[in-house]
Amino acid sequence: MDAFEYASPSTVKEAIALLGSDWEDASVFGGGTDLISLLKDDVEETKRLVNIKRIGALHAIQNDHGSLRIGAAVTIEQLMSASDVRRDFPSIPDAAEGIRSPQLHNMSTVGGWICQRPRCWYYRNGFGLLALDASGKSLVEQGDNRYHAIFGNSGPAKFISPSSLGPVLLALDGRIHIEGPNGPRDIAAREFFVTPQKQGDRELALAPNEIVTGVSIPAASRGMRNGWYEVRPKEGLDWPLTSAAVALKMNGATVESARIAMGHVAPTPWPADDAAKWLEGKTINEDTAAKAGDAAVQGATPLSRNAYKVQLARVAVKRALLAAVGQLATAASA
């Protein structure tokens, strides 16, 4: 790890002014658990860390005309403790609880939860985000891809988006709030996560001199039934193999509309729109949830060693749907 400069500004504007035009110029520093690890591994380099945790404006959880706005520096622990978040959008704390480490809850921020870099072991071992060999062929395809993508992997990117908040935000139609030298902007979570197409591309629609200032969930998503399920091998701290977030607008026992997003299956959180559409007008039960799971994994393109993840994605969707209507426990022990 190189030596770097450090700054701890108190406003977003100051922070932006401290960033550079290249990724290596400066890094936004939140909880740091991922960034520091990347720097220690020499996977990423930086000349300057810009700490955003002392920017008061980024610490708020607030109701903004019915939409929920969460500041980028809010810790996961604070998010889990926010009773109104738990009441209105329970899939957020549910996903947070999947991170089985109080230390990470205490350190990690919402901004880092969505901006953390992929855990692809070729990337983390220094072979680049796309992990191409000298002839341009994918090391992931040639090598061990048990934890890699089963969707969205036709291009060079085979890694999976690591964030469990990502699919939750897609299901809740969330937006990402960003500020750069030209002022603030916001973008649908669905557009924020992108699949790199060539060397040098990143997996987030973010410029090096921009800061994620927070996320928001629109008023329209209130009152939807939330469901979250992750297939995680260990009960302790471990990465999900697949995950799914669902949000259901119900009319009595019938689904009026639905949004489903799978996590850990593609370079981005992966929406399952066909499955969601299919659920409209149906009641959620073991059978319809299973069929929605089948629909969600239609068109999966597993690699040499990860076809099992197709089954796990199918199950994650099914169980997230059952969780949303409070039927998971009975299904799992059936």
Binding site: E5, T33, Q103, N106
Partner: protein, 239 residues
């Protein structure tokens, strides 16, 4: 390799016979373009690029933004700067590069070696300390970022002569073998109990997933947390 092989196997460093190995083939390995992976490796045919990278060791300062506001933001480093830390109730100032982790500041600069470096990547919990009463991984906490906070290490909650209730419970329940994960576990358990004074076996399992023991002392740790909870109910806080 007999079934009663009591002898530890010697550490064989003898080189294998490779006389029949095929001719060197192009393994098509990409340019391992980050230093950690070319640690000392100028790959044949790629030495120039690697060399250039290696020569670029000095951190070039970014042009400082001209605005007064940014100036006020106070860019520090990359060289040593004074870092004032409040550790176990005592305020100390060290000269540290901004890249120095809290764990290394404690261990290498203050000889507070209770917190251990194990995974060094925010996974195993051996480096756990408290900041403002909450458990954190000090291996990925910058010392400079811990300024102005109340840092508590294992040394701050007790000693071998005056064990904290949690340390005492670890001893009573033999929740330790080699003991290298123990201080981190004690700190994680202490923070847990401070926030959950009435733990259940299931609850504590769910809440202590951020620490790993290699020797396998978890059974003792579960008992220790429950015992410490009972012991502290009458006596107040754990630490």
């Amino acid at each position: 390799m007999s079934s009663h092989d009591d002898k530890p196997r010697p550490n064989g460093e003898e080189k294998p016979n490779r006389s029949h190995a095929k001719d060197a083939q192009d393994k098509n390995l990409p340019d391992l373009s980050r230093r950690r992976f070319i640690k000392g490796a100028g790959i044949a045919g790629m030495a120039a690029s690697a060399g250039a990278l290696l020569a670029d060791r000095v951190v070039e300062a970014l042009p400082r933004p001209q605005t007064g506001a940014a100036g006020a933001a106070g860019v520090l480093g990359p060289g040593e700067v004074p870092v004032t830390l409040r550790i176990n109730g005592k305020t100390q100032t060290l000269n540290l590069e901004p890249r120095v982790m809290l764990l290394d500041a404690l261990r290498n600069h203050l000889d507070l070696t209770g917190a251990k470096k194990v995974c060094d990547r925010a996974t195993c919990g051996a480096c756990t300390v408290h900041i403002d009463g909450r458990a954190v991984y000090s291996c990925t906490t910058l010392a400079i970022d811990a300024q102005g906070r109340e840092i508590t290490t294992i040394e701050g909650i007790g000693s071998a002569e005056h064990l904290s209730p949690m340390s005492q419970a670890f001893w009573n329940n033999d929740a330790q073998q080699c003991g290298f994960c123990t201080p981190g576990f004690v700190m994680a358990c202490t923070a847990y109990l401070n926030h959950e004074p009435h733990p259940t076996r299931e609850g504590l399992e769910k809440s202590l997933g951020g620490n790993i023991c290699r020797c396998g002392t978890y059974m003792g740790i579960k008992d220790a947390v429950l015992e410490a909870a009972n012991a502290t109910k009458s006596k107040g806080a754990v630490a």
